[in-house]
Structures are given as C-alpha cells and as structure tokens.
Symmetry: C2
Subunit: 268 residues, 2 copies
C-alpha cells in the first residue's frame, strides 16, 4: 500500500513554528523520519495559520528537496499554491486535493494534467458528503468521467471516500468501506482508493486514561485494506499503526511472508 | 459477533491437569473469566491426551454447568462423545465440528439435529483443504445442501473456511477472506461464517523478542470482520484482540457508539 506521511502539516505546532522561523532542520528531520518509518510519499501542507501560503509552500518544498527526492503530496485548497507547489515538487507527485464540485474539478484537474500529477479527489459535492455509499460512488463516477474527458488516466485518480468521526457520524464508517470496495468497479483501468485516516477518531476520548484514537485508527485502516484500499494518508511514526498495516498487507497476499516481515517492509 | 472462548481445551496444560486431577475450581475459573471478558459461548475440548474422552467430556460439561448456563461448543471428533456432550450441554449449544466429507456429515448432522445444536462445519473434504475460495465454497455448498436435505435450517450452520498458518501457506489468508464474503451468497437464509482464529499465526516467530502472533491474530480477525464474519473461536482473555474486535464491530455499525464502547461491549 502507498503510505503518505501526514506529519509535515502546519496544523502541527512543530511544523507551524518551523515555517515561521524558517527552521529547515525540523522539517528535514520530519521528512527523513517518515521515510525511514516506511512512508512512500510526504504530504506538504502549510496549515491555516500561514499568512503567505505561496511563499511558505515554496519554502517547505525546497527545504524537503534538499534531503529527498521522494514524491510529495501538495496539500492546499488554493489553485495558485497548488500550481507552484507541483512545479517545484517535480515528477510523480500528488495533487491533494480536489472535491467533486464542478468548479473545483475545472480548476484542479488541468493543474494536475499540466504537471503529470496524480490526483486525490474527495467524494464531496455541493450538497456535502453523502450519507451512503451510493451517493459517494455517484460523485466518484462524475470525477472519473471529468478526468477521462480531459484525457487523464483514471488509474492516476485516488478517490477518497471521506471518513467522518465515528463518535458523531458512525454510519459513515461502513459507507466508506463499501465505497472503497465498489470504486474498483467504476471503470477499467479502475481508479485507486485512498483514505485520510485520522478523521475517523477525531474527538474520541480516553478510556481509563488511554486514548482510544490509535486503536480506532488502526482498526479502521485494517478494515479498509481488507476492503481493497490502495493508499492512505497516515502518521507513519505510529509504530502500532504501521505494524497493523504491514500485517494486513501480508494477510492480503500483497507482501511475501518472511519471519522478519515487519522489518523487511520498512527496509523495502 | 459471536465470541466462542477457546481456553477450556486439553491442549492447554492447566486444563489437561485439571481434567486429570478433577480440579473443578480451575475449570470453573476459566469459564467465568472468559464470560467476564466477553465470550458468548465456551468451547469444551478434552484434548488428545484424554484416555476416556466420554468420561472426561461429561465431567468437564457438568463442572461448567455448576457455574454457568452459557452455551457450550462441544469440541470433539468422536460421534459418541459429541452425542453425550450435547445431551449434557442442553439447549442453544454448538456441534464443533464436522468436515464436508460425506461420512462425517452423515454421522454428525443427525446428532446436531437430535439436540437442536448449531453446527460448525469445516470446508475440508477427502482431498483436504482447497487452495482457493472456489474449492472452499464448493464444499460449503455441499454442506448446506446436505443440511437442507436433513431438514436443518442453513442459518444454524457456521461455515469455517479453515485458515492455515500464514508462515507456510500465505495464499490461504486471502482465500479465507474471500470465502467469508461469498458464503453469504450460497442460500437464503444464508449460513453463518466462523473462524478458528489462532491457526493463522501458528509457528510465526518473535520479532525483536516480541511474539508477532497476537498482532497477526488480531489483524486477521479485523479483516475477517470487515469481510462479514459472524463468529470466531478465540482467546477472549487477550485484551488487545478483544479491543480490536469490539472496535471493528463498532466501525461496521454493529454496535452503537458511546465514549466507553470498549467497556460497554464487555458488560453487554
């Protein structure tokens, strides 16, 4: 499975402060740590506090590029920041993200095409996030159609069925799993599926002093992998989460068994 | 999900010794502990060392019945022991197990019918355990047909697709998950699905001094639940395993969310 490391995001204090003080070391450490832990791609998001997103995104990407050529997922809602970010990030990168709304697709799909970027697309439209798999799949089908219309290979689409916190919207969890299963049936070659994982456990409390968030996260990731998930945006520094992911890939027959399969995956 | 506690089995030393020395307390403790931890049913197996299985099975069941009326899964390959065990165990119990071989079905299905017992049936025939889901489903279909022929409700069948150790037969894990998904399509009402879990991790080693067996067990259980599993024979005293199971049931929408969902399930 494709692991997109989520840690270089201005929502995290350490990143926000590094961007403000132009502390390259902190960002480069986070990049290397995530790659060492098994991330394939690094998400890059300046965060909502940034006063100059174009400048901060450029600085972040240039800073990361000093230590690694790993693919990046340029994570912004602003088309100009996306365009600039993808031009600096280079080949095999990801546009993160567009929704299924017409105007978003019209803005973002051409930017992805221009840079040859893969596309993370959320099953959200003007009415919001549908409650059931059917509605999500309808939006996904529309995204696929738009992409094909623009000459974009649907296999470069990563459909994110948008999980909501289980504590407030429990019925969305099975809907997302069902969407993951059925997205593969939309066209041939099929679009890929992706999950922005940590939203599932937002707001879940501690039980007997221990946060249940990691348990919810890793359990849902394993269920999604059993449903055919191709990629996830996660915290690769969560060792239990990565162990669960590696083991479920093993049990799906996607990695070959060896006695040290947990270590072998990380050294891949 | 239906949890069948696996601990009262003569393969475990503490049970073997308790049977030999007629130590009621040890067996009754194991029964109560498993029920407290969330088990719905208790498996009862005298183990291969028993010199008088009929006598030992009777003693075990009578000993358990002194402290609980919870359903039991009478676990033996001997028809006379099964018949005696089910007659002592009472209503709502399980025959564990028959294979799909003609002579086994002819022996065991009538015993189950006589006692109104649910039936755990393994997808094994004379040729062994098929490598792929198709072969397993063919055996399952044959078991269902035989049961219907004898007037047994297929909803009282629990089909076990027989997981083999991932370290020697890795390709069986996805085959079992696929069988679980498709068993539901065999007839209406559908047979149920069950998993004798711990076999999946037999022989898997320690990694950096920590056994990877519990990780493999709980990851495969969550994948099986995501595939639609109805029941499992597991160790309910493994807290991490039970937490993973409860959380995956929550994310499947089978339990209602509350902040203390882990505790709430166990107190059900």
């Amino acid at each position: 499975m494709l692991v997109i490391g989520e840690k270089i995001n201005g929502m995290f204090k350490v990143v926000r402060e590094a961007v403000q003080s132009k502390n390259k070391q902190a960002i480069q450490d986070l990049a290397k740590k995530q790659l060492d832990a098994g991330a394939d791609v690094l998400d890059v998001n300046v965060g909502p506090a940034s006063a100059d997103q174009l400048k901060d995104m450029s600085w972040l990407i240039e800073t990361i590029r000093e230590v690694t050529l790993a693919p990046l997922a340029v994570d912004t809602t602003k088309p100009d920041v996306m365009d600039k970010g993808l031009s600096l990030a280079g080949k095999n990168c990801f546009l993160n993200s567009t929704t299924g709304e017409e105007e978003k697709l019209s803005e973002f799909l051409p930017i992805a095409k221009k840079h040859g970027a893969k596309i993370i697309a959320l099953t959200i439209d003007k009415a919001g996030i549908p409650n059931h798999a059917e509605g999500r799949l309808e939006i996904a089908a529309n995204i696929v159609a738009k992409a094909i219309e623009l000459g974009i290979d649907p296999a470069s689409l990563y459909i994110d069925a948008v999980i909501l916190p289980v504590n407030v919207a429990q019925q969305h969890a099975p809907a997302v799993l069902e969407t993951i299963k059925q997205t593969k049936l939309l066209c041939d070659p099929a679009p890929k599926t992706i999950l922005g994982l940590s939203n599932v456990s937002q707001g879940a409390p501690s039980a007997q002093g221990v946060s249940v968030r990691p348990l919810i996260d890793r359990t849902f990731l394993v269920m999604a992998i059993a449903s055919g998930l191709d990629a996830a945006i996660i915290n690769p520094l969560d060792k239990d989460l990565m162990d669960a992911m590696i083991t479920s890939e093993l049990l799906s027959g996607k990695n070959i068994y060896c006695d040290s399969f947990l270590q072998a995956y990380r050294k891949k």
